[in-house]
Amino acid sequence: MSGRKIGEVILDLQHISLRFGGVKALTDISFDVKEHEIRAIIGPNGAGKSSMLNVINGVYHPQEGKITFHGEERAKMEPHQAAMQGISRTFQNIALFKGMSVLDNIMTGRITKMKANFLEQAIHLGRARREELAHRAKVEEVIDFLEIQHIRKTPVGRLPYGLQKRVELGRALAAEPSMLLLDEPMAGMNVEEKQDMCRFILDVNDQFGTTIVLIEHDMGVVMDISDRVVVLDYGKKIGDGTPDEVRNNEEVISAYLGVSH
């Protein structure tokens, strides 16, 4: 890995508990994320990994616990506010806007940065027009970065699965996030697609310094690219540390790594 420097803690989660009726999705979980690092969350199915991401960007509100982001304790927060604060994400099940082109999907990712109101847009002069062009240029950078120039105008519904995942990453990147949450970005991909995706994730982290929180089932990938790993099982944290530490943790081995996937 290159010369990027891992910084201070920017996201700190303390004693997070989340319940859905009787289901305990998360129980008393604490961990932190440092600036510029790649932080992986692993665990068997149903362990609470996706719920954890949903807590981080305000989709779910935990019943207990404290979240500190950039040194400020966070009150109950809605997803669009998380977006405003620079948190972007992708979803486990692709959540693209099916009826829109690749270009429009990624342009939508820049929505928090666009200021012209609907009347200005209706007339399409002045600020609205300038903005549209400026943001288009930014989006083209994302498109170049992800090497998807050839499918710019294609409706996303027509794309193969692997490319859809890539477009979804593009939509998240378009917001120029400081923190990127990726929920199984490589699930269901073939080896070649996985390699591409790995490369993009590492490049994002390296070139833009983006902090990445990543859920992934492929152990090889996780051990390869992450700086630190949190292990969840049945909503509880059972391990936390560098890939090597986690690999050698007895509890983790019996609960997770021992189980073949």
Binding site: N57, V59, E78, P79, H80, A82, A83, M84, S88, R89, F91, A95, L96, F97, K98, G99, M100, D104, M107, T108, G109, I111, T112, M114, A116, F118, Q121, A122, I123, H124, A128, E131, E132, L133, R136, A137, E140, R171, A175
Partner: protein
């Protein structure tokens, strides 16, 4: 290869982001406007102007409004006609009660009133979706028409709520001939259609479609769902409201609230289903289709199959054909005539070579 992008290399995003990026489309639209503004007023007779073209334009505008809400923002509504009624009755009252009220301002204010009412009846959309939302808009439909009929103030105390639209006058010019009415409606509809096109291809349009396609993801990206949905209700109702005002002032002159009943709401819904959900041109195609179809069927029954069809079928033919077409489009081509046109254009792009 009549219709092609090839050879038109776009050297900048400016050219790629024009309102009609393909040259043939630009030329087509120019020709269409030229015909509509210059040739039609000279050539069409009174029946065509008053009976076909003006209603076609008015309904196109209403369908455009509904398409913004349903096609782009994904919120089903059965209350379009009620919002038209608000526009018509509000414009009438602004003209009636404020001395020297300019006509176009009255139309715009009628639209604004419809937009406000639209926002109120759009509030349930923050909680409910699809079928249940449609039922809530149905409530708007019945409530508004009931209110306009019951409260006689709205119709200046006329019997059964009938209003007679005032004369249309702008800067001393009176729009009383069919040609002048047609040109006034055409101008308003053209400007509003271009504005709608600009909105749907800009950031608001993307926000509407994002909420339609995947609201959780939209919110996570930073779109405020409530704001976006209510804006769709407001803009959509504004369009319907202005369409309602034009319906009263430029088309039939004398209307009662019942004239804006559920049948009309359904008619507008059918227009966007047949024309194309989520398409600006679809609103026009659907409106043309629904305005022209009955006329075409009449000709068919009376002249072509004169006396051949049993009267029971002849009188219901229109309903049968409508029903059949709706089912056809819902199942076979949910994106309507606009999509069929698109496919034809794509074929033309390759023509005469099959590949």
């Amino acid at each position: 290869m009549l219709y092609r992008e090839a050879g038109q290399f776009k050297s900048s995003y400016t050219s790629d982001q024009q309102i009609f990026p393909i040259r043939q489309d630009r030329i087509g639209i120019m020709l269409l406007l030229l015909v509509a503004f210059v040739l039609v007023p000279g050539m069409a007779d009174e029946y065509w102007l008053k009976g076909i073209l003006i209603p076609f334009l008015v309904f196109s505008l209403a369908a455009l409004g509904l398409n913004i809400l349903t096609g782009y923002a994904g919120q089903l509504s059965l209350g379009s006609a009620a919002f038209m009624a608000v526009g018509a009755f509000a414009s009438y009252n602004f003209m009636l009660r404020i001395d020297g009220m300019p006509l176009l301002v009255a139309f715009a204010l009628g639209g604004v009133m419809a937009a406000l009412v639209g926002i109120v009846f759009g509030l349930p959309s923050l909680r409910i979706k699809g079928f249940y939302l449609a039922v809530a808009t149905l409530a708007a439909q019945f409530f508004i028409i009931w209110l306009l009929t019951k409260v006689s103030w709205f119709s200046n105390d006329s019997t059964s709520g009938v209003i007679s639209a005032q004369e249309m006058e702008i800067f001393g010019y009176v729009f009383d001939s069919p040609e002048s009415k047609y040109l006034l409606v055409l101008s308003i509809v053209t400007v509003m259609a271009l504005m709608a096109k600009n909105m749907v291809r800009g950031a608001v349009g993307r926000a509407w479609m994002a909420v339609r396609d995947m609201d959780v993801a939209a919110e996570v990206i930073g779109i405020r769902i409530m704001h976006t949905k209510l804006l769709a209700f407001a803009v959509s109702s504004f369009y319907c409201g202005v369409a309602g005002a034009l319906y009263a002032y430029a088309y039939i002159g004398t209307v009662e609230p019942e004239g804006f009943n559920l049948d009309l709401s359904f008619k507008i819904l059918f227009m966007i289903i047949i024309g194309g959900v989520g398409s600006i041109s679809g609103a026009f195609l659907g409106s043309a289709f629904i305005v022209l179809l009955p006329i075409f069927l009449d000709v068919l029954v009376q002249d072509v199959f004169a006396g051949l069809l049993p009267p029971s079928i002849a009188s219901n033919l229109q309903l049968m054909v409508f029903g059949g077409l709706i089912i056809f489009f819902l199942i076979v081509e949910p994106h309507g005539l606009a999509r069929l046109w698109q496919i034809t254009k794509e074929k033309l792009r390759l023509w005469p070579f099959p590949h």
